[in-house]
Amino acid sequence: MPSVSTGAVLSPIHLFLEADIVVKLVMIGLLLASLWTWTIIIGFALKVSSLRKEMQRFETDYREADDFDEFHRRAAGRDQPIARVFAAGVSEWRRSTAGKTIDREGTRERLATAMGATVAMEIDRISDRLNFLATVGSVAPFVGLFGTVWGIMRSFTGIAAAQSSSLAVVAPGIAEALFATAIGLFAAIPAVIAYNRYSHAVNRVEARLNRFADGFHATLSRRLEMEG
Protein backbone atom coordinates (compact mmCIF):
# COMPACT_ATOMS: atom_id res chain seq x y z
CA MET A 1 0.00 0.00 0.00
CA PRO A 2 1.65 3.23 -1.06
CA SER A 3 1.77 5.66 1.78
CA VAL A 4 2.09 9.40 1.61
CA SER A 5 5.74 10.28 1.75
CA THR A 6 6.76 13.52 3.30
CA GLY A 7 10.08 14.27 1.70
CA ALA A 8 9.41 13.93 -2.01
CA VAL A 9 12.92 13.18 -3.25
CA LEU A 10 13.97 11.11 -6.21
CA SER A 11 15.59 8.47 -4.06
CA PRO A 12 15.76 5.08 -5.76
CA ILE A 13 15.88 3.25 -2.44
CA HIS A 14 12.82 5.08 -1.21
CA LEU A 15 10.90 4.48 -4.42
CA PHE A 16 11.95 0.83 -4.43
CA LEU A 17 10.98 0.16 -0.84
CA GLU A 18 7.61 1.79 -1.22
CA ALA A 19 6.70 -0.22 -4.30
CA ASP A 20 4.55 -3.31 -4.56
CA ILE A 21 6.20 -6.75 -4.61
CA VAL A 22 5.49 -7.28 -8.31
CA VAL A 23 6.94 -3.89 -9.13
CA LYS A 24 9.91 -4.71 -6.93
CA LEU A 25 10.55 -7.91 -8.89
CA VAL A 26 10.28 -6.00 -12.14
CA MET A 27 12.72 -3.41 -10.86
CA ILE A 28 15.21 -6.03 -9.70
CA GLY A 29 14.99 -7.85 -13.02
CA LEU A 30 15.49 -4.69 -14.99
CA LEU A 31 18.38 -3.65 -12.80
CA LEU A 32 20.10 -6.99 -13.38
CA ALA A 33 19.42 -6.65 -17.10
CA SER A 34 20.95 -3.20 -17.06
CA LEU A 35 23.96 -4.53 -15.18
CA TRP A 36 24.50 -7.37 -17.65
CA THR A 37 23.89 -5.03 -20.58
CA TRP A 38 26.67 -2.75 -19.46
CA THR A 39 28.91 -5.72 -18.76
CA ILE A 40 28.42 -6.80 -22.37
CA ILE A 41 28.84 -3.28 -23.70
CA ILE A 42 32.12 -2.72 -21.92
CA GLY A 43 33.42 -6.24 -22.46
CA PHE A 44 32.56 -6.13 -26.14
CA ALA A 45 34.21 -2.77 -26.60
CA LEU A 46 37.43 -4.12 -25.08
CA LYS A 47 37.19 -7.33 -27.10
CA VAL A 48 36.58 -5.61 -30.45
CA SER A 49 39.39 -3.12 -29.98
CA SER A 50 41.87 -5.85 -29.07
CA LEU A 51 40.53 -7.94 -31.97
CA ARG A 52 41.25 -5.13 -34.42
CA LYS A 53 44.76 -4.71 -33.10
CA GLU A 54 45.45 -8.45 -33.31
CA MET A 55 44.09 -8.66 -36.86
CA GLN A 56 46.18 -5.69 -37.85
CA ARG A 57 49.33 -7.25 -36.42
CA PHE A 58 48.56 -10.68 -37.84
CA GLU A 59 47.98 -9.33 -41.35
CA THR A 60 51.20 -7.34 -41.16
CA ASP A 61 53.11 -10.43 -40.05
CA TYR A 62 51.46 -12.50 -42.75
CA ARG A 63 52.41 -10.06 -45.51
CA GLU A 64 55.99 -9.89 -44.28
CA ALA A 65 56.34 -13.68 -44.05
CA ASP A 66 57.97 -15.35 -47.12
CA ASP A 67 56.52 -18.78 -46.63
CA PHE A 68 53.16 -19.51 -45.10
CA ASP A 69 54.38 -22.90 -43.83
CA GLU A 70 57.07 -21.24 -41.84
CA PHE A 71 54.65 -18.48 -40.76
CA HIS A 72 52.17 -21.14 -39.72
CA ARG A 73 54.67 -22.64 -37.32
CA ARG A 74 55.07 -19.27 -35.65
CA ALA A 75 51.47 -18.19 -35.66
CA ALA A 76 49.61 -21.45 -35.17
CA GLY A 77 49.50 -21.09 -31.40
CA ARG A 78 47.78 -17.66 -31.44
CA ASP A 79 44.32 -17.73 -29.94
CA GLN A 80 42.76 -15.33 -32.44
CA PRO A 81 39.93 -15.62 -34.91
CA ILE A 82 42.12 -14.63 -37.80
CA ALA A 83 44.77 -17.17 -36.72
CA ARG A 84 42.13 -19.87 -36.60
CA VAL A 85 40.96 -18.99 -40.12
CA PHE A 86 44.57 -19.18 -41.29
CA ALA A 87 45.06 -22.50 -39.48
CA ALA A 88 41.90 -23.93 -41.02
CA GLY A 89 43.17 -22.97 -44.49
CA VAL A 90 46.61 -24.48 -43.86
CA SER A 91 45.29 -27.73 -42.42
CA GLU A 92 42.86 -28.15 -45.31
CA TRP A 93 45.73 -27.43 -47.75
CA ARG A 94 47.90 -30.04 -46.14
CA ARG A 95 45.18 -32.64 -46.17
CA SER A 96 44.32 -31.96 -49.80
CA THR A 97 47.90 -32.01 -51.05
CA ALA A 98 48.99 -35.02 -49.02
CA GLY A 99 47.89 -37.56 -51.66
CA LYS A 100 49.65 -38.46 -54.91
CA THR A 101 47.13 -36.95 -57.23
CA ILE A 102 45.80 -33.51 -56.64
CA ASP A 103 42.32 -32.47 -57.63
CA ARG A 104 42.95 -28.71 -58.06
CA GLU A 105 39.34 -27.66 -58.45
CA GLY A 106 38.25 -29.83 -55.53
CA THR A 107 41.06 -28.50 -53.35
CA ARG A 108 40.12 -24.85 -54.13
CA GLU A 109 36.51 -25.50 -53.19
CA ARG A 110 37.45 -27.31 -50.01
CA LEU A 111 39.83 -24.51 -49.01
CA ALA A 112 37.11 -21.87 -49.57
CA THR A 113 34.54 -23.90 -47.66
CA ALA A 114 36.85 -24.65 -44.74
CA MET A 115 37.91 -21.02 -44.29
CA GLY A 116 34.37 -19.70 -44.82
CA ALA A 117 33.09 -22.08 -42.17
CA THR A 118 35.78 -20.97 -39.76
CA VAL A 119 34.98 -17.30 -40.41
CA ALA A 120 31.30 -17.97 -39.77
CA MET A 121 32.10 -19.83 -36.57
CA GLU A 122 34.36 -17.05 -35.30
CA ILE A 123 31.72 -14.40 -36.05
CA ASP A 124 29.15 -16.46 -34.23
CA ARG A 125 31.43 -16.63 -31.24
CA ILE A 126 32.15 -12.89 -31.31
CA SER A 127 28.52 -11.84 -31.64
CA ASP A 128 27.41 -14.38 -29.05
CA ARG A 129 26.39 -11.72 -26.49
CA LEU A 130 24.85 -9.27 -28.88
CA ASN A 131 21.51 -11.05 -28.96
CA PHE A 132 21.14 -10.25 -25.26
CA LEU A 133 21.52 -6.56 -26.05
CA ALA A 134 18.84 -6.87 -28.70
CA THR A 135 16.52 -8.64 -26.29
CA VAL A 136 16.99 -6.11 -23.54
CA GLY A 137 16.59 -3.25 -25.97
CA SER A 138 13.27 -4.46 -27.21
CA VAL A 139 11.79 -6.06 -24.08
CA ALA A 140 12.94 -3.91 -21.16
CA PRO A 141 10.56 -1.02 -21.92
CA PHE A 142 7.65 -3.43 -21.95
CA VAL A 143 8.71 -5.03 -18.70
CA GLY A 144 9.03 -1.60 -17.15
CA LEU A 145 5.64 -0.68 -18.53
CA PHE A 146 4.19 -3.79 -16.99
CA GLY A 147 5.57 -2.75 -13.62
CA THR A 148 4.12 0.71 -14.08
CA VAL A 149 0.69 -0.54 -15.04
CA TRP A 150 0.70 -2.88 -12.10
CA GLY A 151 1.82 -0.17 -9.70
CA ILE A 152 -0.79 2.27 -10.96
CA MET A 153 -3.47 -0.36 -10.63
CA ARG A 154 -2.40 -0.89 -7.04
CA SER A 155 -2.36 2.80 -6.43
CA PHE A 156 -5.89 3.20 -7.77
CA THR A 157 -7.02 0.41 -5.49
CA GLY A 158 -5.44 2.41 -2.70
CA ILE A 159 -7.42 5.48 -3.75
CA ALA A 160 -10.63 3.50 -3.64
CA ALA A 161 -9.76 2.19 -0.20
CA ALA A 162 -8.82 5.61 1.14
CA GLN A 163 -11.98 7.18 -0.31
CA SER A 164 -9.84 10.10 -1.31
CA SER A 165 -8.58 11.18 -4.70
CA SER A 166 -6.32 13.93 -3.51
CA LEU A 167 -3.00 14.20 -5.31
CA ALA A 168 -1.15 13.46 -2.09
CA VAL A 169 -2.71 9.98 -2.01
CA VAL A 170 -2.34 9.24 -5.71
CA ALA A 171 1.05 10.71 -6.48
CA PRO A 172 3.48 8.53 -4.47
CA GLY A 173 2.11 5.28 -5.85
CA ILE A 174 2.25 6.55 -9.41
CA ALA A 175 5.78 7.85 -8.89
CA GLU A 176 6.89 4.43 -7.67
CA ALA A 177 5.17 2.76 -10.59
CA LEU A 178 6.73 5.11 -13.10
CA PHE A 179 10.11 4.34 -11.58
CA ALA A 180 9.77 0.84 -13.09
CA THR A 181 9.40 2.32 -16.58
CA ALA A 182 12.34 4.60 -15.88
CA ILE A 183 14.55 1.63 -15.06
CA GLY A 184 13.28 -0.19 -18.12
CA LEU A 185 14.25 2.71 -20.37
CA PHE A 186 17.52 3.10 -18.47
CA ALA A 187 18.38 -0.48 -19.40
CA ALA A 188 16.92 -0.45 -22.91
CA ILE A 189 18.37 2.74 -24.37
CA PRO A 190 22.06 1.83 -23.98
CA ALA A 191 21.28 -1.72 -25.08
CA VAL A 192 19.71 -0.57 -28.35
CA ILE A 193 22.49 1.89 -29.09
CA ALA A 194 25.18 -0.70 -28.28
CA TYR A 195 23.46 -3.36 -30.30
CA ASN A 196 23.42 -1.19 -33.41
CA ARG A 197 27.01 -0.09 -33.00
CA TYR A 198 28.31 -3.57 -32.29
CA SER A 199 26.37 -5.16 -35.12
CA HIS A 200 28.20 -2.77 -37.37
CA ALA A 201 31.51 -3.61 -35.69
CA VAL A 202 30.88 -7.34 -36.08
CA ASN A 203 30.06 -6.85 -39.75
CA ARG A 204 33.34 -5.07 -40.26
CA VAL A 205 35.27 -7.83 -38.46
CA GLU A 206 33.48 -10.40 -40.56
CA ALA A 207 34.30 -8.53 -43.78
CA ARG A 208 37.90 -8.26 -42.72
CA LEU A 209 38.15 -11.98 -41.91
CA ASN A 210 36.57 -12.76 -45.26
CA ARG A 211 39.01 -10.50 -47.07
CA PHE A 212 41.90 -12.23 -45.33
CA ALA A 213 40.42 -15.63 -46.13
CA ASP A 214 40.01 -14.67 -49.79
CA GLY A 215 43.55 -13.39 -49.94
CA PHE A 216 44.93 -16.54 -48.36
CA HIS A 217 42.77 -18.62 -50.67
CA ALA A 218 44.26 -16.81 -53.65
CA THR A 219 47.78 -17.50 -52.32
CA LEU A 220 47.04 -21.20 -51.84
CA SER A 221 45.39 -21.39 -55.23
CA ARG A 222 48.49 -19.92 -56.92
CA ARG A 223 50.70 -22.38 -55.05
CA LEU A 224 48.44 -25.22 -56.12
CA GLU A 225 49.08 -24.31 -59.75
CA MET A 226 52.84 -24.13 -59.14
CA GLU A 227 52.88 -27.52 -57.44
CA GLY A 228 50.92 -29.07 -60.23
Binding site: L31, L35, W38, T39, I42, G43, F44, S50
Partner: protein
Amino acid sequence: MDRSERIGLGVSIAAHAAVFAALSLSLLKTPPQETPKAIPIEISLADKVGLESTAPVVSQEELAAKKSPVEAPVEPESAPPPAPDPQPQPKPQPAPPEPRPAPQPKPQPPQPKPAPAEKPQPKPKPAPAEKPQPAKPEKPSKPAPPSKAAPAKSSDAASKSAATGSERRPAKPTGNLAGLDLGRSNNRTNSTALANPASKASAEEVASFRGLIARQIQPCANRQVTPGPGAERIRILVRLSFNPDGSLAGNPDITGVQGNDASNGRYVDRVKDLAIATFKGCTPIRGLPANLYAVPGGWKSLAFSYKLPG
Protein backbone atom coordinates in the same frame (compact mmCIF):
# COMPACT_ATOMS: atom_id res chain seq x y z
CA MET B 1 32.99 -15.10 -19.53
CA ASP B 2 36.45 -14.04 -20.55
CA ARG B 3 38.75 -11.38 -19.22
CA SER B 4 37.18 -8.47 -21.09
CA GLU B 5 33.75 -9.40 -19.82
CA ARG B 6 34.97 -9.63 -16.24
CA ILE B 7 36.37 -6.13 -16.62
CA GLY B 8 33.05 -5.06 -18.10
CA LEU B 9 31.11 -6.57 -15.22
CA GLY B 10 33.25 -4.80 -12.67
CA VAL B 11 32.97 -1.46 -14.45
CA SER B 12 29.23 -1.73 -14.93
CA ILE B 13 28.63 -2.67 -11.29
CA ALA B 14 30.72 0.28 -10.21
CA ALA B 15 28.91 2.64 -12.59
CA HIS B 16 25.48 1.45 -11.48
CA ALA B 17 26.46 1.87 -7.87
CA ALA B 18 27.65 5.38 -8.65
CA VAL B 19 24.39 6.33 -10.38
CA PHE B 20 22.41 4.77 -7.58
CA ALA B 21 24.35 6.65 -4.95
CA ALA B 22 24.07 9.91 -6.84
CA LEU B 23 20.30 9.58 -7.00
CA SER B 24 20.02 8.37 -3.41
CA LEU B 25 22.05 11.21 -2.04
CA SER B 26 20.03 13.50 -4.27
CA LEU B 27 23.14 15.03 -5.75
CA LEU B 28 21.21 15.58 -8.94
CA LYS B 29 18.26 17.01 -7.14
CA THR B 30 17.38 20.56 -7.99
CA PRO B 31 16.19 22.56 -5.02
CA PRO B 32 12.41 22.79 -5.10
CA GLN B 33 11.22 26.11 -6.33
CA GLU B 34 9.46 28.30 -3.84
CA THR B 35 5.90 28.39 -5.00
CA PRO B 36 3.88 31.16 -3.44
CA LYS B 37 1.23 29.72 -1.21
CA ALA B 38 -2.32 30.48 -2.12
CA ILE B 39 -3.77 32.52 0.71
CA PRO B 40 -7.51 32.08 0.93
CA ILE B 41 -9.32 35.36 1.02
CA GLU B 42 -12.70 35.55 2.63
CA ILE B 43 -15.20 37.24 0.41
CA SER B 44 -18.25 38.56 2.15
CA LEU B 45 -21.18 39.48 -0.01
CA ALA B 46 -23.07 41.13 2.80
CA ASP B 47 -24.16 44.69 2.26
CA LYS B 48 -22.49 46.46 5.10
CA VAL B 49 -24.44 49.62 4.56
CA GLY B 50 -28.13 49.01 4.93
CA LEU B 51 -30.28 51.51 3.15
CA GLU B 52 -32.82 51.21 5.90
CA SER B 53 -32.20 50.86 9.58
CA THR B 54 -32.67 47.36 10.87
CA ALA B 55 -32.07 48.27 14.49
CA PRO B 56 -34.82 47.46 16.97
CA VAL B 57 -37.17 50.32 17.66
CA VAL B 58 -36.86 51.62 21.18
CA SER B 59 -39.78 50.38 23.18
CA GLN B 60 -42.53 52.85 23.81
CA GLU B 61 -43.91 50.98 26.79
CA GLU B 62 -44.54 52.69 30.04
CA LEU B 63 -42.02 52.18 32.72
CA ALA B 64 -43.44 53.57 35.93
CA ALA B 65 -44.28 50.29 37.56
CA LYS B 66 -40.69 49.22 37.55
CA LYS B 67 -39.32 52.09 39.43
CA SER B 68 -40.30 51.12 42.90
CA PRO B 69 -38.63 47.72 43.00
CA VAL B 70 -35.53 49.01 41.36
CA GLU B 71 -35.02 52.16 43.31
CA ALA B 72 -34.51 50.62 46.69
CA PRO B 73 -31.49 48.48 45.80
CA VAL B 74 -29.96 51.19 43.74
CA GLU B 75 -29.81 53.71 46.52
CA PRO B 76 -27.33 52.10 48.86
CA GLU B 77 -25.02 51.36 45.99
CA SER B 78 -25.12 54.83 44.68
CA ALA B 79 -24.74 56.48 48.05
CA PRO B 80 -20.94 56.21 48.21
CA PRO B 81 -20.26 57.80 44.81
CA PRO B 82 -21.63 61.22 45.69
CA ALA B 83 -18.65 61.94 47.88
CA PRO B 84 -15.99 61.88 45.17
CA ASP B 85 -18.33 63.40 42.63
CA PRO B 86 -19.17 66.79 44.08
CA GLN B 87 -16.97 68.67 41.59
CA PRO B 88 -19.84 70.34 39.73
CA GLN B 89 -21.32 73.47 41.25
CA PRO B 90 -24.99 72.41 41.32
CA LYS B 91 -24.16 69.90 44.01
CA PRO B 92 -23.92 72.17 46.98
CA GLN B 93 -27.70 72.36 47.19
CA PRO B 94 -28.31 68.62 47.61
CA ALA B 95 -25.17 68.28 49.70
CA PRO B 96 -26.73 69.36 52.97
CA PRO B 97 -29.37 66.62 52.88
CA GLU B 98 -26.75 64.01 52.28
CA PRO B 99 -25.70 63.63 55.90
CA ARG B 100 -29.08 62.01 56.43
CA PRO B 101 -28.82 58.51 55.10
CA ALA B 102 -31.27 57.44 57.82
CA PRO B 103 -34.38 58.80 56.08
CA GLN B 104 -34.27 55.96 53.64
CA PRO B 105 -37.71 54.77 54.68
CA LYS B 106 -39.01 58.10 53.47
CA PRO B 107 -38.31 57.60 49.83
CA GLN B 108 -40.74 54.75 49.82
CA PRO B 109 -43.80 56.71 50.81
CA PRO B 110 -43.16 59.35 48.19
CA GLN B 111 -42.80 56.77 45.50
CA PRO B 112 -46.49 56.32 44.92
CA LYS B 113 -46.41 59.97 43.99
CA PRO B 114 -43.96 59.63 41.16
CA ALA B 115 -46.61 57.52 39.50
CA PRO B 116 -48.34 60.66 38.28
CA ALA B 117 -44.93 61.70 37.09
CA GLU B 118 -45.18 59.13 34.35
CA LYS B 119 -46.32 61.75 31.99
CA PRO B 120 -43.03 63.51 31.76
CA GLN B 121 -41.15 60.24 31.37
CA PRO B 122 -42.51 59.05 28.05
CA LYS B 123 -41.53 62.34 26.51
CA PRO B 124 -37.80 62.04 26.98
CA LYS B 125 -37.65 58.43 25.85
CA PRO B 126 -38.59 58.51 22.19
CA ALA B 127 -35.71 60.84 21.51
CA PRO B 128 -33.03 60.66 24.16
CA ALA B 129 -31.10 63.44 22.54
CA GLU B 130 -33.92 65.89 23.13
CA LYS B 131 -34.18 65.21 26.80
CA PRO B 132 -32.52 68.32 28.08
CA GLN B 133 -35.15 70.49 26.43
CA PRO B 134 -38.33 68.85 27.72
CA ALA B 135 -36.73 68.51 31.11
CA LYS B 136 -36.46 72.24 31.64
CA PRO B 137 -40.09 73.09 30.95
CA GLU B 138 -41.05 70.58 33.57
CA LYS B 139 -39.20 72.31 36.30
CA PRO B 140 -41.75 75.06 36.74
CA SER B 141 -44.54 72.57 37.21
CA LYS B 142 -42.59 70.39 39.62
CA PRO B 143 -41.58 72.74 42.36
CA ALA B 144 -44.71 71.78 44.22
CA PRO B 145 -43.97 68.04 44.51
CA PRO B 146 -40.37 68.54 45.60
CA SER B 147 -41.61 70.16 48.75
CA LYS B 148 -43.66 67.05 49.47
CA ALA B 149 -41.10 64.62 48.22
CA ALA B 150 -38.79 65.85 50.91
CA PRO B 151 -35.02 66.31 50.73
CA ALA B 152 -34.54 62.56 50.66
CA LYS B 153 -35.73 62.60 47.12
CA SER B 154 -33.22 65.20 46.20
CA SER B 155 -30.48 63.09 47.72
CA ASP B 156 -31.69 60.30 45.51
CA ALA B 157 -31.47 62.55 42.58
CA ALA B 158 -28.02 63.62 43.44
CA SER B 159 -26.73 60.16 43.96
CA LYS B 160 -28.43 58.94 40.83
CA SER B 161 -27.15 61.78 38.75
CA ALA B 162 -23.69 61.14 40.06
CA ALA B 163 -23.94 57.58 38.89
CA THR B 164 -25.38 58.25 35.48
CA GLY B 165 -23.58 61.33 34.36
CA SER B 166 -22.69 64.81 35.46
CA GLU B 167 -23.90 66.65 32.35
CA ARG B 168 -27.53 66.47 33.30
CA ARG B 169 -27.01 67.78 36.80
CA PRO B 170 -28.73 71.13 36.35
CA ALA B 171 -32.03 69.35 35.86
CA LYS B 172 -31.67 67.01 38.80
CA PRO B 173 -32.13 69.21 41.83
CA THR B 174 -35.83 69.37 41.08
CA GLY B 175 -36.00 65.77 42.33
CA ASN B 176 -38.76 64.52 40.08
CA LEU B 177 -36.41 63.76 37.28
CA ALA B 178 -34.82 61.09 39.40
CA GLY B 179 -37.61 58.73 38.47
CA LEU B 180 -37.16 59.61 34.86
CA ASP B 181 -33.52 58.73 34.97
CA LEU B 182 -34.05 55.47 36.75
CA GLY B 183 -36.88 54.50 34.54
CA ARG B 184 -34.88 54.94 31.46
CA SER B 185 -31.78 53.22 32.63
CA ASN B 186 -33.64 50.19 33.92
CA ASN B 187 -36.26 49.95 31.32
CA ARG B 188 -33.89 48.90 28.61
CA THR B 189 -33.08 45.68 30.39
CA ASN B 190 -36.33 44.82 32.06
CA SER B 191 -38.90 45.76 29.50
CA THR B 192 -41.32 43.08 28.35
CA ALA B 193 -40.25 43.98 24.83
CA LEU B 194 -36.78 42.65 25.57
CA ALA B 195 -36.72 40.01 22.82
CA ASN B 196 -37.03 42.84 20.45
CA PRO B 197 -37.87 41.75 16.96
CA ALA B 198 -35.70 43.48 14.46
CA SER B 199 -37.60 46.33 12.94
CA LYS B 200 -36.92 45.00 9.49
CA ALA B 201 -35.03 42.13 7.90
CA SER B 202 -31.94 43.45 6.17
CA ALA B 203 -31.02 42.38 2.69
CA GLU B 204 -28.33 40.03 3.91
CA GLU B 205 -30.64 38.47 6.46
CA VAL B 206 -33.28 37.95 3.81
CA ALA B 207 -30.71 36.36 1.52
CA SER B 208 -29.54 34.21 4.41
CA PHE B 209 -32.88 32.74 5.41
CA ARG B 210 -34.08 32.44 1.84
CA GLY B 211 -30.92 30.49 1.10
CA LEU B 212 -31.55 28.35 4.17
CA ILE B 213 -35.06 27.54 2.99
CA ALA B 214 -33.90 26.89 -0.57
CA ARG B 215 -31.22 24.48 0.67
CA GLN B 216 -33.66 22.50 2.75
CA ILE B 217 -36.23 22.41 -0.05
CA GLN B 218 -33.64 21.32 -2.61
CA PRO B 219 -33.66 17.58 -1.79
CA CYS B 220 -37.39 17.43 -2.40
CA ALA B 221 -37.05 19.47 -5.58
CA ASN B 222 -34.39 17.08 -6.87
CA ARG B 223 -36.70 14.13 -6.35
CA GLN B 224 -39.35 15.39 -8.74
CA VAL B 225 -39.46 13.80 -12.15
CA THR B 226 -40.18 15.87 -15.22
CA PRO B 227 -43.64 14.94 -16.48
CA GLY B 228 -42.71 15.64 -20.06
CA PRO B 229 -40.50 17.58 -22.46
CA GLY B 230 -40.67 21.31 -21.99
CA ALA B 231 -42.13 21.04 -18.50
CA GLU B 232 -38.86 22.20 -17.00
CA ARG B 233 -39.41 25.63 -18.58
CA ILE B 234 -42.49 26.24 -16.45
CA ARG B 235 -41.99 28.44 -13.41
CA ILE B 236 -44.55 28.32 -10.67
CA LEU B 237 -44.66 31.35 -8.41
CA VAL B 238 -45.57 30.25 -4.91
CA ARG B 239 -46.30 32.17 -1.74
CA LEU B 240 -45.45 30.26 1.41
CA SER B 241 -46.86 31.14 4.81
CA PHE B 242 -44.81 29.87 7.70
CA ASN B 243 -45.62 29.19 11.29
CA PRO B 244 -43.09 30.46 13.82
CA ASP B 245 -41.75 26.91 14.16
CA GLY B 246 -40.82 26.78 10.48
CA SER B 247 -43.69 24.59 9.36
CA LEU B 248 -46.06 25.66 6.61
CA ALA B 249 -49.24 27.40 7.64
CA GLY B 250 -51.58 25.92 5.10
CA ASN B 251 -50.90 24.88 1.56
CA PRO B 252 -48.56 26.96 -0.57
CA ASP B 253 -50.45 29.50 -2.67
CA ILE B 254 -49.88 29.42 -6.39
CA THR B 255 -49.63 33.05 -7.32
CA GLY B 256 -48.57 32.76 -10.91
CA VAL B 257 -47.27 30.61 -13.71
CA GLN B 258 -44.51 31.60 -16.11
CA GLY B 259 -42.90 29.98 -19.08
CA ASN B 260 -45.88 27.95 -20.20
CA ASP B 261 -46.56 27.87 -23.90
CA ALA B 262 -48.38 25.73 -26.41
CA SER B 263 -45.85 22.92 -26.18
CA ASN B 264 -45.88 22.46 -22.43
CA GLY B 265 -49.24 23.94 -21.46
CA ARG B 266 -50.67 20.57 -20.61
CA TYR B 267 -48.05 20.03 -17.92
CA VAL B 268 -48.85 23.19 -15.99
CA ASP B 269 -51.27 21.53 -13.57
CA ARG B 270 -48.88 18.69 -12.98
CA VAL B 271 -46.00 21.07 -12.29
CA LYS B 272 -48.19 23.01 -9.88
CA ASP B 273 -48.83 19.81 -7.99
CA LEU B 274 -45.13 19.02 -8.01
CA ALA B 275 -44.36 22.48 -6.68
CA ILE B 276 -46.80 22.09 -3.80
CA ALA B 277 -45.52 18.60 -3.09
CA THR B 278 -41.95 19.87 -3.08
CA PHE B 279 -42.59 22.62 -0.57
CA LYS B 280 -44.75 20.48 1.63
CA GLY B 281 -42.36 17.57 1.50
CA CYS B 282 -39.35 19.36 2.89
CA THR B 283 -40.95 21.51 5.57
CA PRO B 284 -40.77 22.34 8.43
CA ILE B 285 -37.66 24.34 7.84
CA ARG B 286 -35.20 24.17 10.68
CA GLY B 287 -32.93 26.93 11.88
CA LEU B 288 -34.86 29.98 10.75
CA PRO B 289 -34.05 33.09 12.84
CA ALA B 290 -36.93 33.61 15.25
CA ASN B 291 -36.46 37.36 15.51
CA LEU B 292 -37.04 37.80 11.78
CA TYR B 293 -40.37 36.03 11.70
CA ALA B 294 -42.98 38.77 11.75
CA VAL B 295 -40.93 41.83 10.91
CA PRO B 296 -41.30 43.53 7.54
CA GLY B 297 -39.37 41.47 5.05
CA GLY B 298 -39.32 38.53 7.46
CA TRP B 299 -40.10 34.94 6.69
CA LYS B 300 -43.67 34.77 7.88
CA SER B 301 -44.72 34.96 4.27
CA LEU B 302 -42.32 34.41 1.42
CA ALA B 303 -42.62 34.25 -2.34
CA PHE B 304 -40.64 31.56 -4.12
CA SER B 305 -40.49 30.51 -7.72
CA TYR B 306 -40.39 26.81 -8.42
CA LYS B 307 -38.89 25.11 -11.42
CA LEU B 308 -38.32 21.48 -12.23
CA PRO B 309 -34.72 20.36 -12.18
CA GLY B 310 -33.08 20.30 -15.58
